[in-house]
Symmetry: C2
Subunit: 298 residues, 2 copies
Amino acid sequence: MTLPLVVRSAAALRRRLARGQGDIGFVPTMGALHAGHLSLVSRAKRENRRVVVSIFVNPTQFSPDEDFSTYPRDLNADRRLLESEGPVLVYAPSASDIYPAGFSTTVKVGASLGSVLEAVFRPGHFDGVATVVARLFALVGPQRAYFGLKDYQQYLVIKRMTADLGLPVALTGCPIVREDDGLAMSSRNRRLSRGQRSKAAVLNRALGHVAALAASGEASAARLRSAGIDALRKVPGLKIQYFELADAGTLAPIRRLDKAARVLAACTLGSVRLIDNRPVHPAFARAVPRLLKGPKNV
Amino acid sequence: MTLPLVVRSAAALRRRLARGQGDIGFVPTMGALHAGHLSLVSRAKRENRRVVVSIFVNPTQFSPDEDFSTYPRDLNADRRLLESEGPVLVYAPSASDIYPAGFSTTVKVGASLGSVLEAVFRPGHFDGVATVVARLFALVGPQRAYFGLKDYQQYLVIKRMTADLGLPVALTGCPIVREDDGLAMSSRNRRLSRGQRSKAAVLNRALGHVAALAASGEASAARLRSAGIDALRKVPGLKIQYFELADAGTLAPIRRLDKAARVLAACTLGSVRLIDNRPVHPAFARAVPRLLKGPKNV
């Protein structure tokens, strides 16, 4: 095995891609890769003749008080991890390659998708995400692109943008990959202290508790929400940012669980922000399997 | 000659385009066609095997106090005019075809382009324009698209958006087509009363006066601007919205005319809003022709 080839500019990327042929699968990342990213690469490898992994810590999706400058960056570690997946092309551009002088376009997704949950706590975040993904799609020209469902709202925003602008890219949302104790894999987990790390799995447990209550017959979103929040409140030092049940397609808040929905949460442990989510199904859905269907690929 | 074929939906457009082959030239319009539009179609016909003309009065580029509901619409008159240019495909969609349920993406161009001149008097206008053009490009899939330079700022906004999002469409800005007295052709001109119509040509004369002063050596933007405004002030009933000298590429205001620039103006006569613009060159540029170069195609 050899380390994957890295190109640093859009021009080099174009030259390299022009030399090969076959469908391109694309996995956009901010680096600091983990098993969650590798699951996306693995899926992309199965479905495409060529795979491009971008590694770009996009400044426009961080607000001034966020962790842009301290976000973990280690290109060599990322390349070593990717080696196990077989040949991929790594595109690790500079900011000036993605945003050349004069760049001044923003892609915004509105409606509830662009205004609830993460958007409340990270103003402007999804504008940065939608814009950089539209730009990366144009530079890479993939047939398919792969996103982790840990960032569920991000996936819906990108799906909306791709459909609305008619971009010729098929999107796949891939299942969340978790640590043994259930914590969703995230580049930010490595910043948790040992004590924080032992507490972090409560987030997934609280989501699971809500899903189990729903499956056993509880349909009031308010009561389901309270149950999840109660579970989190038992953990000292954990601060809840949101814990909500929402329509699985639009993320509009729901009052009753009368079809497949999503429960989504964000909290902080010290300076580390954690998010997670999972599907919730109403109890009667067990007997009527077609009601279980959420949006495609989710 | 026969009237051009009209398709009413994106699905019908796709079917029709799938049957033919060869490059597609695209002329997006709001209908109420005149000789200015026909010059775009004619250029598109020369440079492409197939030409699509869209006719869509886009609601999102009108603000609530503007003339969306009264904007002139006459599809049959438009088809008869197009007949003279030879075969084209007319795409005249409904609003729900362009903005299907759930559509919620906006493309914004920022920096000075998106905030000066027209953007001041028509808040949100260019967001509507950039978004509908991005969407139309995706639906039509042209190799080339043609825009009239009467809407100079619009052309720069679309160029910026196309470059920033990496859309694979080559843009051409086409010269302003004028009436015999110099008035720039516009669908809105038909709303001028006979008295207003006789006054309207002053706009082009004022711009020409400024260009002539510049060519004869005046380089102060403030004095050039005053001269233009003085010319317009002589016309009773004409209200100036803006009259500015600006960088020809960014539309940032200039103080001295030290390279090729643009003079742009907007005014109203009664309820009719008129805009016009033209290049201005510093006097010394005559001796040094390469200084005359503005942005490509402009």
